[in-house]
């Protein structure tokens, strides 16, 4: 993977992007017990697979979601958060 397609700025070199990690739903910190919260804070799905991840195009500070196969480093699609349907 040498290129990444930002949903706003188009296809750019990968050096313009940073990865913000896997997209994960945050539990309500006021509702959950310490162990569930620790699970959210520390634990990850570390095995290879197709994952939805946060990425940021740094020159324009655009955060978006990329679906990527972490085994072969291939981006399947990218979209702005919440606009998955239109992609």
């Amino acid at each position: 993977m040498k290129l990444m397609t930002c949903p706003v700025n188009g296809t750019r070199p990968i050096s313009e992007f940073i990865c913000g990690g896997e997209l994960r739903p945050m539990p309500d910190p006021n509702q959950v017990d310490d162990e569930t919260w620790a699970d959210y804070v520390f634990h990850r799905n570390g095995a290879a697979g197709i994952k939805a991840e946060w990425w940021c195009h740094t020159p324009s500070n655009t955060w978006f979601v990329a679906e990527r196969n972490t085994q072969i480093d291939q981006v399947l699609r990218t979209y702005l958060y919440g606009q998955e349907e239109q992609s």
Binding site: D34, D39, H43, G46, A47, A48, T70
Partner: protein, 413 residues
């Protein structure tokens, strides 16, 4: 000795004995099974057999012995860490390293070089002073040195780094060493084999059987086996194995790349590390410069290498050693580093009886190979975490008891 070489080449049989046997099939059951024939798994097998008399052991390796991170690392060995638990652990490892060639009757090219971690900023100088004090308190040879002392030790280095990131000082660790990585795996493998352990290459673990919270066996590409003690030492494949038994962990896999230059006459005695420039370098017994940088910036389960890495590392090497501009890079590769958020390993017993873990060794686990083998063998044999690994357990994350080794482990090999 060309004549001897010629005879060797023409001989029908191998005149030299093999390092270890190649058993043709798995037995139906073993007292203990170790997944991963890297340095860690083989060392654990070796000490299980030598120190605990447990010899009905199989080491299962999906590829070939030492073909994982053990055979891909830049072999820096040191003990000048930041947390007391880390320092004690690595210091014990350095002690074990010093006797290994003797122990194995095999030259592992252990070479004490002296290790400089360069500081280019006030804040890194401050962390180094802290580290030096923790180290000295625990009896580890470690001190802060100024630019003149660095220059005297390594006159080839440009202390000003071309003017943009001048070196302000360094943490100097006299026992810092390098060793021949393959020989470490072979030495442990041969020693384990001689004591009855079976090493099965080309044997991948595909599933782990657990009954009422207790390990009962493993399914492999060569058939099923029964065991009640299973040690998982698979570095970059750990999340996949944990998934098989349903354990959660913070591990994330990032590639770590390295490269070597063409061989040169010996000129670099020391091991030089710069966290700010993301460089670590030493010169091997063959004269090649062995160089590494920081982790690749995002998760990836593959050992591909990139041009970005070579270019970036070469540029930073030239900041330190401008005279190398004509030197060629001859090889480049990557390994999969299993990273924890606190830069400390995950070791010991787990919530599943009989499932022991030696993982989270990320970019810094080669130096720990002997002590991991020793402590994991004791843990597996006695079903009790060895005292040196108490703070490294997997459940520390659920109880918010992180170790905090980041200042010393992130890029500081």
């Amino acid at each position: 000795m060309p004549l001897r070489l010629l005879k060797f080449g023409l001989a029908k049989k191998y005149p030299e004995p093999r390092m270890f046997r190649q058993p043709d099939r798995l037995k139906p059951s073993y007292d203990a099974v170790i997944i991963g024939a890297g340095g860690h798994g083989l060392a654990a097998a070796y000490y299980l057999a030598r120190d605990h008399g447990i010899t009905n052991v199989a080491v299962l390796e999906k590829g070939y012995l030492g073909g994982g991170n053990t055979g891909r690392n830049t072999t820096i060995i040191r003990s000048n860490y930041l947390t007391p638990s880390g320092v004690k652990f690595y210091d014990e490892s350095v002690r074990l390293w010093q006797d290994l060639s003797q122990d194995f009757d095999l030259n592992i090219f252990y070479s004490t070089r002296g290790h400089f971690t360069l500081a280019h900023t006030d804040s890194s100088l401050r962390t180094m002073r802290w580290r030096a004090e923790v180290n000295k308190h625990l009896g580890v040879n470690s001190e802060l040195v100024d630019p003149d002392q660095i220059h005297a030790a390594c006159p080839q280095m440009d202390i000003d780094c071309g003017g943009h990131t001048p070196i302000l000082g360094a943490l100097y660790h006299a026992p810092g060493s390098i060793a021949r990585h393959d020989a470490v795996a072979w030495g442990y493998g041969r020693g384990a084999d001689q004591r009855g352990v079976e090493i099965h290459q080309q044997t991948e673990v595909l599933g782990i059987k657990v009954k009422s919270g207790q390990v009962t066996g493993v399914a492999t590409s060569q058939g099923e086996i029964e065991t009640t003690k299973l040690l998982c030492a698979v570095a970059g494949s750990t999340p996949k194995l944990l998934e098989m038994v349903g354990l959660r962990s913070p591990l994330v896999i990032h590639p770590l790349q390295a490269m070597v230059s063409e061989p040169m006459k010996p000129w670099l005695d020391q091991i030089i590390v710069s966290g700010s420039l993301h460089v670590y370098v030493s010169q091997s017994a063959r004269g090649e410069l062995v160089m590494g940088a920081s982790l690749d910036p995002y998760e990836l389960h593959s050992t591909r290498s990139t041009l970005d890495f070579t270019e970036g590392l070469a540029a930073h090497m030239l900041d330190l050693f401008p005279f190398l501009s004509h030197v060629k890079i001859v090889r480049q590769w990557a390994g999969m580093a299993d990273m924890t958020p606190d830069f400390a390993p995950m070791m010991g017993k787990t919530a599943i009886e009989g499932f022991y873990l030696d993982s989270g060794w990320g970019t810094w686990g080669f130096k720990a190979t002997p002590v991991c083998g020793k402590t994991m063998a004791a843990t597996v044999a006695g079903d009790r975490n060895h005292e040196l690994i108490q703070e490294f357990s997997l459940d520390r994350f659920s109880s918010y008891q992180l170790v905090g080794e980041k200042g010393a482990a992130s890029v500081g090999h």
